[in-house]
Symmetry: C2
Subunit: 663 residues, 2 copies
Amino acid sequence: MNIIEEEQTAFEIGVVVPKRNVEEENEDCNCLEVLVDEFTKVGFIVERVQGVADEFIKLAAPLETLGRAAAELKLKKRTHIGMDLQFEWEEVDAFVKQHDGSLFSWFERFHCYNHLIYGIVNKSKSAVTLTYDGKEFCWEVGENLVPKLESVHFIKQVFPLHDEIKRKKLLKNWALNWWDITDQPIDEIYSYFGAKIAIYFAFLGMYTRWMFFPAAFAITVQLIDFGSLQLLVLPIFFIGIILWAVMFSQFWKRKNSALLARWQISYSVGVEPGYKLLGMEWGSLQTPVKALRKWGTDKTNEKEVYQRSEWFGHLLRFRNDAIVIMSIIFLQLPFELAYAHLYEVIVSDVMKFGLTAVYLFAIQRFTRIGGKISVKLIKYENNETAEKRADSLVYKVFGLYFMQTYIGVFYHALLHRNFLTLRQVLIQRLLISEVLENLLENSLPYLKYSYKKYRVRKKKRCEKGSSTGKIQFSSRVEKEYLKPSYTASIGEELEDGLFDDCLELALQFGMIMMFACAFPLAFAFATLNNITEIRTDALKLLAMLKRPVPRAATTIGAWLNIFQFLIVMSICTNCAFLAWFYDHEGKWSIEPGLAIILVIEHILLLIKFGFSRFVPEEPAWVRANRVKNATQAQDVCSKQLLRTISGGRKMFGKVKESEKNDL
Amino acid sequence: MNIIEEEQTAFEIGVVVPKRNVEEENEDCNCLEVLVDEFTKVGFIVERVQGVADEFIKLAAPLETLGRAAAELKLKKRTHIGMDLQFEWEEVDAFVKQHDGSLFSWFERFHCYNHLIYGIVNKSKSAVTLTYDGKEFCWEVGENLVPKLESVHFIKQVFPLHDEIKRKKLLKNWALNWWDITDQPIDEIYSYFGAKIAIYFAFLGMYTRWMFFPAAFAITVQLIDFGSLQLLVLPIFFIGIILWAVMFSQFWKRKNSALLARWQISYSVGVEPGYKLLGMEWGSLQTPVKALRKWGTDKTNEKEVYQRSEWFGHLLRFRNDAIVIMSIIFLQLPFELAYAHLYEVIVSDVMKFGLTAVYLFAIQRFTRIGGKISVKLIKYENNETAEKRADSLVYKVFGLYFMQTYIGVFYHALLHRNFLTLRQVLIQRLLISEVLENLLENSLPYLKYSYKKYRVRKKKRCEKGSSTGKIQFSSRVEKEYLKPSYTASIGEELEDGLFDDCLELALQFGMIMMFACAFPLAFAFATLNNITEIRTDALKLLAMLKRPVPRAATTIGAWLNIFQFLIVMSICTNCAFLAWFYDHEGKWSIEPGLAIILVIEHILLLIKFGFSRFVPEEPAWVRANRVKNATQAQDVCSKQLLRTISGGRKMFGKVKESEKNDL
């Protein structure tokens, strides 16, 4: 067995503790010493940094420490035979390394760090007395140290640190590399930020790249006069972009599974995530098991309990969805319509400005309240996995934003019945929303950071009593601590900042697709916007914010479904626009024109729902990859297992017995 | 280890060989002796039966013989920990028994029989000389006996035999048990006929049971006059049956996976079939591997080869689909329209009758030719599994029948623009097609059987030179041999007789759904028809035909997709009917009525495509079943495998090396 010699020197986790004044050094606080001691015992490389306002403990873990933690966590890792097995430090050679040469991915490393940090317990035979801030408290035998210290506010935060070398490299290769347009070093992003963020950027890149086609098409349509064929241009453009969107969403799925195959993450499309081995899922379905214990374990009863809990879950979700939809229709829709109508009716510009200000303020509050209600609602759903819960939240919040964003445009479209006004409204919305959002997105974190720095400085000055000396933040870790973290504007627990970025993207997609016939040039605007979006988002992640906590998600999840829903919506709305466009007399009669449009609509809907049957979501080579070397593995495994089952059938029997005894 | 004591005495396979005249007994044919000898050596229980025209060898296999064959075949079987593993005779205790107490299912038994019968090779050191019909030929060392004997026409047929005890029991419990209406002993059907046929009957039963609701609804609508609300009745009926159909297709999927769980057949929904262990599929994807050998095995090349073969496959399938669709539109559609139009135009009844006769004759030939072309076409597709190939065939042939069945009705609907005529046409079609088909279905096999008996008798009489003695078929096995087998009317290789039964069901479903608004009572007709269909199909299988060869399919496959397609079609057609029904002035103008209908259509389409997201295809308890005991199995397996990989990584490496050397 040859242990990997690579040295893991980068500090990846920072722990913030209060800075002690020099005079009270050895007096009333031994927490820090105990903590550093325990960290060293666990196997961390510890570095202490004195900041302006706080003290920081930087942690790095040698590979072996991580390996032991991974084995304790029973982490599944890809092996050389292409199968995921429980990690064992002794058999480290059996596991595949990452693209960048390290054994563990950033997500796995973070998981191990967390396990190690929060797993420190008092293993000695007696309680340890800790003092902090003049108070004394007891670290009991078997108690976890870090949660204890967090509960007494000694540890202020545990957060992942940027790796300066990699960060600088990414800044150069990625965030500031404008000339690459849509190309991004996805593998490096993956190894630095984890799968979820890398998948988002891969999606954004592919989306922008694909968007060049409709953008070019739109510019052609706009610039060239087709003479007598001018009437046919819009329908052809419409059919073209719908086909484009359908193909894009399917090919993105393929790209997604190809990426996962390259990163050696197991996730078969169409099957719920969760550790998979032997064709089964572990780790899912915890909820009804508890109920099972109560109800007994005989066969029929078990089935009944599962069925009851399943249908109860559906009922809850249905109720919550109904609540959200009803409140959107009966509370939000009238409000939006009232605003749109008032805006039309009012003549005075000042009044209009005032109204818009009131509206913007109200809408801000509305969405925040809506988001909070959604977060509360999904807590009452018994969604099986965290991922499903996040998806459920995404759908609910998107419903809100959907209504808010588009209803005004629809109102204008129906009121004016004239393409020019509609176009103006669209340009206003697109330009304003995108420019404003990009500005906000990038300046807000910086402002927050500056404000925090200012507050710290002010506090320090007050303490010192003088206002003369300029206080410098010399340590990098303290600066990072003051940077805002990458969080969603609604509920922080379930989603990170990607929620806002994805929402922006989805709303943009809906805007350009649903009103494609009214304003083809929107595609060109969106392309330009997305090219800048790639780099500004990268810059935000690398320079403005704390390093985000890596998440497990391996797809863009609910957002893809929302994209597909928007495609279907845009088939319907565009058909309506076309029908209305060719209906010069306002009679809305089914003459050949309208009939043809209806037929086109139905054919497009058919293509939308049929296309996924023709092009599978998983490329053949990815599937072949999964099968590789499997027959041999099967032989090895099968016989061993059989012997265990038939020999130790009593063992499995016993477990059931003991479960029964538990009752 | 306790070997299972159960005795397997039923003879399940019959082999037909020519009957020898008494005078030439020991003269020029030793084939039979060698064959029987070899069968006994393999471990079969052999019984020889003299028939009127042929001689029959009946074979039964004791459990151990089957077990050894299963181990040789590396059959996957469900174990007590709920996982499928390779069968090993020594570890027989680890495997779960069937519901009826036997170790192997009928499908597995048949597979083993086949393996044993066709696996007989000459193991001696020298070739054996066989004589038959005066000719001599050599059974070479290592050559398979049975294919050899089939090639010289000594073995006429190898076919599965009915098990008289079980057959009688099923006849009583199932085929003649009319009072159960839709209830059927599905488990017994499964253990006698295998999964595919049992699934079909389960589907037919559930479909009929569910159909009571729309039938009752339709009768209510027909009988009661709702007064001023009469206008609303049809739209409500329409919405009701669409919701009914959407729910039915989803709940059938649940029922299907519940049945498979009960029969302990592994097949996770949404994933292609194929033996699954360790989260991977074996046995799939053979095709491109050969190509791989040619192209080399390095990584990028491999991917390219797979991608090329995948896209080439899509291209082929697309081309074939295009051919089929084009020929349906440009050849069949004009023909059907011509017939419908001529039928309307012609006044004389005699001419009409003649026309219909010509039409029926032509259509028969047409569908047969179409079927043959489809079978040929799919041979040029590189579908990965036999199941996918069968599905591809089903789609193509259904396209043909779809056009043939419905186009006439649509023509009448559009021509007469009057519900009464349409209703008449529908009644005609429904009654005639269903009554005729049921009659044909049940009398044709009997007629075939009688004709065969007659021919054998005639031949015998000629040989004997006398025409006096009545020849009796006394042996049951000979009677079975003369019965027709359960084959599809198109191509025999891919599909069995279920193809015709499913086609009938799908056409009926399309007829009642697509014209639901025009003729609600069709549901009542269909219900009655299906109740008789259950029993007559059962009777046909048990009494009229040879025992069918069991097939591996675990779902009704492509047919469910066709049902779903028909639901979508029926949303569109019924909306058209409603629009037309409420359009009294023939103006087709978008007044509230038409607009509302369009809105309803879109909402129903949304429900159709959204419903499957709310109710998963696999009940929670089935999924829980799969996870049972899995953690322990994983522990056992994981460590063993890891040791093998990291220790024997060279082993896996070696294989790759040797593969490279193969080039």
